[in-house]
Subunit: 280 residues, 2 copies
């Protein structure tokens, strides 16, 4: 395999927006119990942006900034400043009025909220094409995630060492995940096996699943599933591309592409890049 620098690094980033995150959907109506333990109730849309803010803050900290205005941080994260302020206010903001936000403090605060303080245990199930790549993905470690187990059912794969970890049979899954909910499972198995494997994971105490298989997973209440669907993303792009081709001339507004202003248009190609390999 290609030797790659495991560089990783952070950056800046942001969420283009929303449009269509993954599945998502149905949120429960409120109202169950009586006394509510008092949930700060952070909107989902806000939660989805927190990682971006965190990355932007990391970059700023690395650049030496002590404080940031909502304007600057929003710019770095690619969102509107008002939205950012409102998002932060949901976390109980700690900004100073005439100054801005303390970079380090805000970073710590968001990191705490995202549970980054504790190093989350991640288990990758399905060490095939993608699972293999994920096992070697350095971006996880830098975000507080530690891959503690690789699982597969193929005898040809079991026993191999990937990214420093031995691939184990699914039967040993229970030995690796600790307390129910203490680990996040990454599902990278073929679609037709996804549900069955997911059931096993859940039975073993898994409460958080990141699903790469193009299938709708049925899980009991209390289990959180997020989906990453590569083919769907391409199909969505294809939809817009086709629409663009159909109505070439204009359609500047309407639906479609993410905003994004910048990009001085036709700048010359910035050459000096090397080692463009390691992923994301």
């Amino acid at each position: 395999m290609p030797g790659l620098t495991a560089v990783d690094e952070d950056d800046v980033s942001s969420a283009p927006r929303d449009g269509a995150p993954t599945a998502d959907g149905a949120d429960r109506p409120p109202a169950p119990g009586t006394a509510v333990p008092e949930a700060p109730a952070v909107p989902e849309a806000t939660v989805a942006r927190l990682p971006q803010y965190l990355r932007a803050l990391s970059a700023l900290a690395e650049a030496g900034s002590r404080t940031v205005s909502s304007e600057a941080l929003a710019e770095a994260a690619g969102v509107g400043s008002a939205k950012l302020r409102k998002d932060l206010s949901h976390l109980g903001s700690y900004g100073t009025r005439g100054v801005g936000y303390d970079v380090e403090q805000l970073h710590r605060h968001i990191a705490d909220r995202l549970g980054q303080a504790a190093s989350w245990r991640v288990v990758i199930v399905g060490v095939g094409n993608l699972g293999h790549a994920l096992a070697g993905y350095s971006g996880f470690a830098s975000r507080g995630f530690t891959v503690v187990g690789l699982f597969d059912d193929d005898p040809a794969v079991i026993g191999r060492v990937v990214g420093g970890l031995r691939v184990r049979p699914l039967e040993e899954f229970g030995e690796v995940v600790g307390e129910p909910g203490s680990a996040i499972a990454v599902l990278a198995v073929p679609a037709r096996h996804a549900q069955a494997v997911c059931d096993r994971l859940v039975a073993a105490g898994t409460r958080s699943v990141l699903n790469f298989a193009p299938t709708v997973l049925r899980v009991p209440d209390g289990v959180d599933v997020r989906k990453v669907d590569l083919a769907s993303e391409l199909q969505i792009l294809a939809f817009h591309a086709q629409r663009r081709a159909a109505a070439p001339a204009h359609r500047p507004s309407a639906a479609g592409p993410r905003g994004a202003t910048g990009a001085p248009a036709g700048p010359l190609l910035p050459h000096a890049l090397h080692r463009v390999e390691e992923v994301v």
Copy 2:
């Protein structure tokens, strides 16, 4: 490089292909006449769900169903039936009132709208960890996407053959992409190079980008960028997991898990699975 069986599979079903090659066929229901191609204006949220519907339809077709009710299809796609009907109505629905939808016809219709009729050309930039996996991802081909080029800047990677394609230097990018907008670029390079590489791709005529790097890409108007951020997904799961840990007993409502009803709870583990390797 891990030898993996390239098993794949996934869907199949009706042959998407048919007559009209690229260029938008005259599919539009109304408007034969004169001017405006008249954009039916399909909501973004709907577009994002079309791939799911398409998959569900593929499965149904394979299972032999001729027609489906909105109820059944919605169930298979994991959404509400009302939402599904409204979504389909945006495409100019072709359902029959007392019966439901013709599976094959609806499949063809959605596939057309997604541009699946024409086989989209996909270019992968950055053949590192993830790029390598994506190059071997068979799920693309089955959705009408053909990987026509692999690019990188690392001399150690250039020249290698991955998934039957030779990795070429970025300089040759222009030779592979055809008409502007005719290809979709998949960005799997380190975050710090993403913007620079993206600029080059756009300059070469790329109009659709799927970005795996955790960075905000600035692109000119008319360029569509979608982002897949693995670490963010984990962080969002971690947020919910932490919240759950904080208020253990309940919180069945609140934000969180995707809907999904089913899962008979604690079914015994379905054993007979083998070859759980190849990815998604």
